[in-house]
Symmetry: C2
Subunit: 376 residues, 2 copies
DNA sequence: TTGAAAGCGCTAACAG
DNA sequence: CTGTTAGCGCTTTCAA
């Protein structure tokens, strides 16, 4: 695994390390040179092309040459440089752009992608962003690194920009319900999920239901930069909001949408304000579990319970099933979505050209955070 | 935005776009060619070297050339290929290896690293692993991609292997209390943190205290592969365990260490068994918050409370402060650790050669999950 | 079946 | 201040 520090030039083989490393501290950085394909070729007494064929399992290598080469590779601890490979073709790397690494639902997607990638020679790199407005830059950065495919989770970038990108490299958009001939999409069934939520709340007898969601537009740059212009009504949270409004209107009720940042503590603050109004809601449908947990903070802090204010979340993160929390939520199986996205990417790399839209089923998990209101 | 396949030479400048793009579907993948530094040079009527100097802000470019070049870059939407750059030197990329993307404490570290990296030209890539035994492969994979520096969170790999790696590329190990002349470390003050936990529990009157921790060895490969041999007593969880044992012994008490996987639900199962023994503990000191949450699941499910079994966690993840949970925990400020690691890496890239060990202070956050036992 | 040679796009000497 | 030149390590024709 580790090349021999005291390697000297025997048998006319190239020497990869200093003949005399300093006494008991390793050689200074840069002193050490990694084996290259040329070194391996020399050591095995064959050509670079031969080595290349062996490491790629390409057609046309005799068993005995393969053996020789593999021995040399092992001896020199040779590793192909990805950058050099990328210059000639593939980088064996898939990239995923992700907002809020701290959002457990999003990390479930990464887990699913990892699982799907495990049996392949591809490596996953994650490009995390701190603000939605950074999505475009992160995608560019992945493209600059010549990844073989890109997954993006509801990025705030324009459709035409994405189509441009996906002309050059396979792209899967996760979450957004776009229909493009250029790139594929994987989404949860947001309409169905919201239907299940609303039906559940109505069945319990709730009428004053507030929808707590993240602001559609987070930063001015998203407005000003044409790159970011896209149909925001195709985003998961917009769809949930639209379906919510629709349900309320159909029952002759007044939709109440409250906006907040994506942060749990901000959701708590916003909910706390909501509770002090004249006519507070008897139920809160939160756009995701992080927001829901924030609402529960405010409700618990006010000494209230599910009969006072019920809460429904979305995503069914681990915390939701905790007995001390017991949050009713919509399970949309992030890991499934992640592995599906990888599958689509690999298909594209394999040659598929028609675009595909996949929608995953979702299921409401009813728990103790929802109950019939005290006075209907 | 899109380069042109049929570029023709008008005005002596190379043309990268279609004059007439196809009606309503973009060109097929691969048809599109990105602008290269040569294209820019041609368009601006200068040499490649000149363009290179401009994009690197290198010394020796006249203002008027800079203007011309920048205009050409903008016009052609030129982006330097990282792979080509990497072959000649830096890739402007830092890598971080991380186990369990779903562990919030670990993602806090990533957040901190991102913040520290924001004002720099470096991009962060995350190499997530699924099992501890994959750490070595993930680090290799980052090295293969010629990142300019690597951060690794308590990787299960041998010290000598790490020293070899860090001879070729700057490395910061997060969590492990190694002292190496080759690589830097950033750790939390695990001894102090554990001291605070044990003092708190003793002060409350607890004597039967169990320590719930993850198994030291997760997979046989870690035992069998010499690459992985390292002083496991330098790992954070080992130190917490050792300090716990020490505290117990010093008070003449019997240390009780229970092992589990890193998973919340497994911790729940193990805790549930613990509660059914003859002489169950009055307090559980969990190695991290995920395990602590699992313990709380079992305790809540058994209808017990803090006076029956108190719980202390480690990391102080967001959930710990939730009023419905209120978990006493040790805050070790993951984002601080992450940005510190980046700082060290950038220093190394900047030329530092002596190794540095940084230890971050930690603080016990006392909440309602700990109370005096019913019968002392 | 094997190898020689031509680049991929960029940076870093070195000349002019 | 600017351009020419020589590679970095790999893959890929194309001959032998």
């Amino acid at each position: 695994m580790v090349s021999d520090p005291d390697a000297v030039d025997r048998d006319g083989e190239s020497v990869l390390r200093d003949a005399v490393p300093s006494p008991n501290s390793g050689p200074a950085r840069g002193t050490v040179r990694n084996a290259t394909i040329q070194d391996v070729a020399d050591a095995a007494g064959v050509s670079k092309a031969a080595v290349s064929k062996v490491i790629r399992n390409a057609y046309g290598v005799s068993p005995k040459m393969r053996t020789r080469v593999e021995a040399a590779i092992a001896r020199l601890d040779y590793r192909p440089r990805i950058a050099a490979r990328a210059m000639r073709g593939t980088s064996y790397t898939l990239g995923i752009e992700i907002a809020q690494v701290s959002n457990e639902f999003l990390t479930m997607i990464v887990q699913g992608a990892l699982d799907a990638l495990a049996p392949t020679p591809y490596q996953l790199v994650v490009a995390p962003i701190r603000r939605p407005s950074e999505a475009g830059a992160a995608l560019q950065s992945l493209a600059d690194r010549q990844v073989d495919g890109i997954m993006a989770i509801s990025p705030m970038v324009g459709e035409s920009w994405l189509e441009d990108l996906s002309d050059r490299i396979p792209v899967v958009i996760i979450g957004r319900h776009d229909v493009s001939t250029h790139y594929d999409t994987v989404t949860g069934a947001d309409r169905s999920g919201t239907d299940q939520v609303m039906t559940h709340l109505f069945d319990l007898g709730h009428r004053r239901i507030t929808h707590l969601t993240t602001e559609a537009i987070h930063h001015e740059t998203i407005i000003n930069d044409p790159t970011n212009w896209h149909r925001s009504d195709l985003e998961p949270h917009s769809i949930r909001r639209a379906v919510y409004i629709d349900h309320m209107r159909r029952r002759g009720l007044d939709p109440q949408v409250t906006y907040t940042g994506g942060d749990e503590l901000e959701a708590q603050t916003v909910t706390a304000e909501l509770l002090t109004t004249n006519d507070p809601p008897t139920a809160i449908f939160a756009g995701n579990d992080t927001l829901a947990m924030g609402s529960l903070r405010a409700i618990a802090a006010a000494g209230l319970g599910p009969e006072d204010v019920s809460v429904v979340g979305y995503d069914d993160i681990t915390m939701a099933s905790h007995p001390m929390v017991s949050l009713t939520s919509v399970d949309q199986s992030g890991s499934q979505i992640g592995s599906e996205a990888v599958r689509l990417l690999l298909e594209r790399i394999g040659g598929r050209t028609e675009s595909v839209q996949v929608e995953e089923d979702v299921h409401l998990r009813v728990r103790r955070s929802t109950a019939s209101p005290r006075q209907p």
